[in-house]
């Protein structure tokens, strides 16, 4: 693959309710930040990808409402309706397709709608929506399947929440930095078995943007480029019942393809940091299994043994992860940004020393129907 890189990043602070900023303001803020980070001006942006969802925005074709603040005035602009990691995938393809630079920007104001109603509406209206299934209850079923299958425990899930909320204390962008114990998580309110309140990510407002460039244009950026070594995505069946919820096949496929592209043969030893989409605590061990960092059923042990702490062998979600801020659509792009900051050694108090290669991950669809895996590198 031709060498392409991330040369600019920008994100808002993630908050429960941004009253002062409408999504137009947030998109402007992060577009401007990403351009300044790259040392680029509007003329350096060749095309734009926006990421939005009409149900979350409460507006039909809501992408049309953010084009000018995305720097897309008089430009080629198109939209991805899905997680930002997939928007970035499209952005990378456009650079490979001939554009010198692509700006990708995602926004979400989860606080303005009703997350239960909106996530219920992602399900089939004939068979599933009337049952009331939503993001939380479908994930609870997945957690139950995972526990039955592998013997992973609720305490192991709780460890993820404790670790990630503690990591968030070092991330000024995170919404929920917290000092917790496993006991605090286990005693938090039962939401949908086996998930408790502190196993669930919050609803968040925020936006994020990145600029992807080809090698020539990356050379003109202010900061050292963070190279896209490998990237792939893969999708599984739409109906939950047509999938094996305890076996993330599509993540395994996407990971293997991304590793092959990046020349990674032993991910646990070759990857220095992982930022994954932990919308619920159980997702961290399940996704680690899908990514091949351990055997099926061993993800819980990996977390419990401290391998995934910031001081461990494989730091996972040093940013605090999605558990500490969950702007839907933006969250996958925030993972890519965190890995970029880590590889640039710009992650201040949460910096993982010597990080050279990182994995960023996003999901789309209920219970991780599709996964997008990025391998980023300093060299």
């Amino acid at each position: 693959m031709e060498r392409i890189a991330i040369v600019g990043v920008g994100q808002t602070k993630y908050e429960a309710r941004k009253r002062g900023e409408i999504f137009y303001d947030m998109v402007y803020e992060v577009t401007d930040k990403a351009m300044k980070d790259a040392g680029f001006t509007l003329g350096d942006i060749d095309n734009v990808i926006t990421v939005s969802n009409d149900f979350w925005d409460g507006r039909t074709i809501s992408c049309m409402a953010v084009q000018e603040v995305a720097g897309a005035h008089d430009k080629n602009v198109s939209t991805v309706e899905g997680d930002g990691s997939f928007g970035a995938f499209y952005g990378a393809m456009r650079v490979l397709g001939g554009f010198g630079t692509t700006l990708v920007v995602a926004h979400s104001k989860g606080s303005e709608g009703d997350s239960k109603v909106i996530t219920n509406a992602m399900f089939d209206p004939i068979y599933h929506r009337p049952l009331g299934l939503d993001a939380i209850s479908s994930s609870a079923l997945q957690a139950n399947v995972y526990m039955e299958r592998s013997g992973v425990t609720e305490e192991e899930f709780a460890h993820v929440s404790v670790k990630n909320h503690a990591n968030a204390k070092n991330n000024p962008y995170a919404q929920l930095p917290m000092e917790l114990t496993v006991d605090d998580v286990m005693r938090s309110k039962r939401i949908a078995d086996p998930l408790r309140l502190l196993d669930c990510s919050p609803v968040s407002d925020g936006a994020a943007a990145i600029i992807i460039a080809n090698e020539e244009r990356a050379g003109k950026a202010l900061k050292p480029p963070i190279w896209i070594k490998g990237v792939a995505h893969c999708s599984d069946a739409y109906f939950l019942g047509d999938r094996d919820l305890g076996d993330p096949r599509s993540l395994r496929d996407a990971s293997q393809r991304a590793y092959a592209m990046a020349g990674v043969s032993d991910p646990l030893h070759e990857i220095d940091i992982v930022e994954l989409y932990d919308a619920f605590s159980y997702m961290e061990p399940l996704w680690l299994e899908g990514m091949g960092f351990c055997d099926a059923g061993q993800g819980g042990k990996m977390v419990e043994r401290g391998i995934t702490t910031v001081d461990g062998e494989l730091p996972v979600n040093p940013s605090g992860g999605v558990l500490s801020a969950h702007p839907v659509l933006v969250a996958g792009l925030a993972r890519i940004i965190e890995v970029t900051l880590q590889l640039r050694s710009e992650a201040s108090a949460r910096q993982i020393d010597g990080a050279k290669t990182g994995l960023a991950h996003g999901i789309n669809g209920p219970c991780g129907q599709s996964h997008c895996v990025w391998i980023l590198g300093k060299e």
Binding site: S137, R190, D193
Partner: protein, 160 residues
């Protein structure tokens, strides 16, 4: 005129409770499924001639095989199945089917209908998670007046 204001009072606008009404087509296969449910109180599935798997509800293609499925491939199943996963839900929300607040707790079941190879999602009538176990057998309980939709199944009851 007024210069920089010290603090702007931030306003919001409420959408009200406007709804977006649709009339969704159920399609041929779904219509057969709900009609059979209403008349025979049995599930219909569809068997892929290529991989042999039986899926419920019936649909136009087998996704993994990209195999076109026809009425000839429809098979009758029973009204019983096995719990593969479940979740007792404790948070309040507006039932999308009725617009009313659903009483909590209630339990979702991830149920393998006997004779099928995939999973059917519905509700189980029991909310004591210590009494529900993966592997238990369940039977569909139907409402009195069947209307041809998913709510015709009131819930699945545990039979053993």
């Amino acid at each position: 005129m007024t210069g920089e204001s010290k603090e702007i009072e931030l306003l919001t606008n409420d959408s009200g409770t406007l709804s977006m009404p649709y009339e969704w087509s159920i399609g041929k296969y779904g219509s057969l499924f709900f009609k059979y449910l209403r008349e025979k109180r049995r599930f219909l599935g569809i068997r892929c001639p290529r991989c042999g798997k039986v899926m419920v509800p019936p649909r136009r293609i087998c996704g993994p095989c990209f195999q076109d499925l026809g009425e000839k491939d429809i098979v009758e199943l029973s009204d019983t199945g096995t719990i593969m996963a479940f979740s007792v839900v404790n948070y309040p929300f507006i039932d999308p089917a009725t617009g009313l607040k659903r009483p909590i707790p209630y339990t979702y079941g991830y149920i393998n209908i006997d004779g099928s190879d995939n999973i059917f999602s519905h509700v189980i009538n029991g909310t004591d998670e210590t009494k529900i176990k993966v592997g238990m057998k369940v039977r569909a309980v139907f409402r009195e007046k069947m209307e041809g939709n998913i709510q015709d199944i009131k819930y699945f009851e545990i039979i053993r």
